[in-house]
């Protein structure tokens, strides 16, 4: 949006210039495409795991019994299981369209809509992963996520650049999630004393392996508890700088993968790690495209 040759000078003007660049700098559309594909695939997989229609979608199943006029009328109109099945099928279709980039400008808002409808229909099986996904979809509806790496992009010319501000929304949302989560933990004596992580790892509802945590690891779990707390509270500040951002993200990958290995917490790990795409330089994400093309060109030349 700003011509570098005509970059204004002066402190006040420079601040305005920085502000403008922070929100409106054009970036390659590839990060949005990666987020669309990742969250489309995660959405499909999550739905397939929840494909037990009588259990999770039929009002006669494990579905919230709160009286809701529109839920009641839909159920009366076509039968509870059929209405639940229809919602499930339509939601799956929307996520499949989003993953493949088919009519992305419609598919992404529809995914957001079905995400909200699902939490009205039956919020009981939904975890934090569902609400993180909603935050991501809210950021993606403002941009053409199908400009590259999509069915929509077939036959189109060079992809136009995209605005950076939806990515900023997502970065901020992720930082708020960690910081808020850290503040919640700060109010708990077990997190402060360092026993919380051992308790989480021993939780009989989440634990993945039926094995004892070796006693020798106890001091390490105390240190790890404080590390998690410090990392969550420090995340919004760490991502402001290029070097500390790398450290914060690397630690995040390590902690999330460790959590996934030790605990069964549904799609949460996958969802959180996918949001990290928002923190990778858009040019670097776009370079994946160029690398792929040059590899294709090389293999084409070899086969010729």
């Amino acid at each position: 949006m700003t011509d570098p040759a005509r970059e204004p000078s002066g402190r006040g003007v420079s601040l305005v210039h920085r502000w403008n660049r922070f929100w409106f700098e054009p970036i390659p559309p590839h990060p949005y495409a990666v987020l669309r594909i990742l969250f489309g695939v995660i959405g499909c997989l999550t739905l397939l795991v929840m494909a037990d229609i009588p259990a999770f979608w039929s009002p006669d199943g494990l579905v919230d019994s709160t009286d809701d006029p529109w839920k009641g009328s839909l159920t009366n109109l076509m039968g509870g299981t059929a209405a639940g099945g229809l919602l499930f099928g339509f939601t799956l279709l929307c996520y499949a369209a989003m993953a493949t980039g088919f009519r992305s400008r419609v598919a992404v808002p529809l995914c957001l809509l079905t995400n909200v409808v699902q939490s009205y229909w039956n919020p009981l099986p939904l975890s934090g992963a569902h609400y993180v996904t909603r935050g991501v979809l809210f950021a993606l509806i403002w941009v053409d996520t199908g400009a590259v790496w999509s069915v929509d992009a077939r036959g189109r010319g060079a992809a136009p650049s995209a605005p950076v501000w939806p990515l900023r929304l997502l970065q901020f949302q992720v930082a708020v999630i960690y910081f808020s989560s850290g503040l919640w933990k700060l109010g708990n004596a077990e997190w402060r004393s360092g026993t919380a992580l051992a308790q989480v790892l021993a939780n009989n509802v989440y634990r993945r392996f039926p094995i004892a945590l070796p006693e020798a690891l106890a001091p390490y779990t105390v240190a790890a508890t404080h590390l998690v707390l410090a990392w969550e509270l420090g995340f919004p500040f760490a991502v402001l700088n290029r070097w500390t951002r790398r450290l914060a993200l690397a630690l995040g990958i390590f902690l999330h993968l460790g959590m996934w290995l030790a605990l069964e917490i549904g799609p949460f790990t996958l969802v959180m790690l996918s949001t990290y795409v928002a923190f990778v330089s858009p040019e670097r994400v776009a370079s994946l495209n160029r690398r792929g093309r040059s590899r294709d060109a090389k293999s084409g030349a070899l086969s010729a």
């Binding site: 999770f56 809210f138 021993a202 006693e215």
Partner: protein, 261 residues
């Protein structure tokens, strides 16, 4: 910058400020009654908690506006995952009373066996566990709210307020008893038999941070893993009352909900 850019960036900033306000958690972690401030531990915790409490006191309007805004946009900001891990293992069982005179209990939480590694089925089970846990949590929160209001509004003591609330319990556990009741009926009931009463029991046991469940608890769990446990025929169908307890190994079960279809 064009006026349009100024306007858009102002809206974006407002959006972010509102989200941040809605995400500020209470310093007591949402627990009632609020625990005392961090009286022990390193000065860092004390300082951080004091800062959190001060921020909470001074951010009332910001939080309220943020919550109103995010709830209108359906973007809830409640990120309290594992904030209160607790020091007990949790179990939920449903007891079905069948006419004439048969009683059966089945373990519904956790959905998986504690003596096995959780792989692909574990992922599916995690959704069922979340559903049952969430329904139970909502039930407890609403029951506590009714209890507090009954005590306050009617000026009753704990025993009387509990008895009054027990007669009008929230309906959050209805889907749970209905779902598991239907499943039990399909598997075990013959023509002419029907479920006349269902009870939801919440079990707590010491959390085994040094390993899995104790051998005696594991023995009890193994019986549940084999399927519904049928009790002696002719058992009094209305014996247990809200708040009654039972013990199996180191699991202490408390009756939380009675449903009579």
């Amino acid at each position: 910058m064009s006026p349009r850019s100024w306007l858009v960036s102002a809206l974006l900033t407002g959006h972010l400020v509102a989200i941040a306000g809605a995400a500020v958690p209470p310093p007591d972690g949402g627990r009632t009654p609020a625990p005392e401030a961090a009286e022990s531990g390193s000065p860092v915790w004390v300082l951080l908690e004091k800062a959190h409490r001060a921020a909470w006191r001074w951010s009332g309007a910001w939080r309220r506006l943020g919550r109103a805004y995010t709830s209108r946009l359906a973007l809830p900001q409640n990120w309290n995952m594992f904030a209160n891990p607790g020091d007990t293992a949790k179990y939920i069982r449903v007891r079905h009373f069948v006419t004439p005179g048969r009683v059966a209990s089945e373990l519904i939480l956790p959905a998986h066996r504690e003596d096995q590694v959780r792989l692909a089925k574990g992922l599916r089970d995690s959704f069922r566990d979340k559903t049952v846990s969430m329904a139970f949590e909502r039930f407890v929160v609403e029951s506590e709210r009714r209890f507090r209001e009954t005590r306050r509004d009617k000026g009753l003591d704990t025993a009387r307020a509990t008895a009054l609330v027990a007669r009008n319990l929230p309906s959050d556990l209805v889907p749970v008893v209905r779902f598991f009741g239907d499943r039990f009926a399909r598997a075990h009931l013959s023509a002419g038999e029907r479920i006349v009463r269902q009870e939801v029991w919440y079990g707590r046991a010491p959390l085994a941070t040094d390993g899995g469940a104790r051998p005696e608890r594991m023995e009890v769990l193994q019986r549940y893993y084999r399927g519904a446990i049928f009790g002696p025929p002719g058992q009094d169908t209305a014996a247990a009352r809200f708040g009654d307890t039972e013990r199996e190994a180191d699991i202490v079960w408390t009756l939380f909900y009675v449903h009579e279809p």
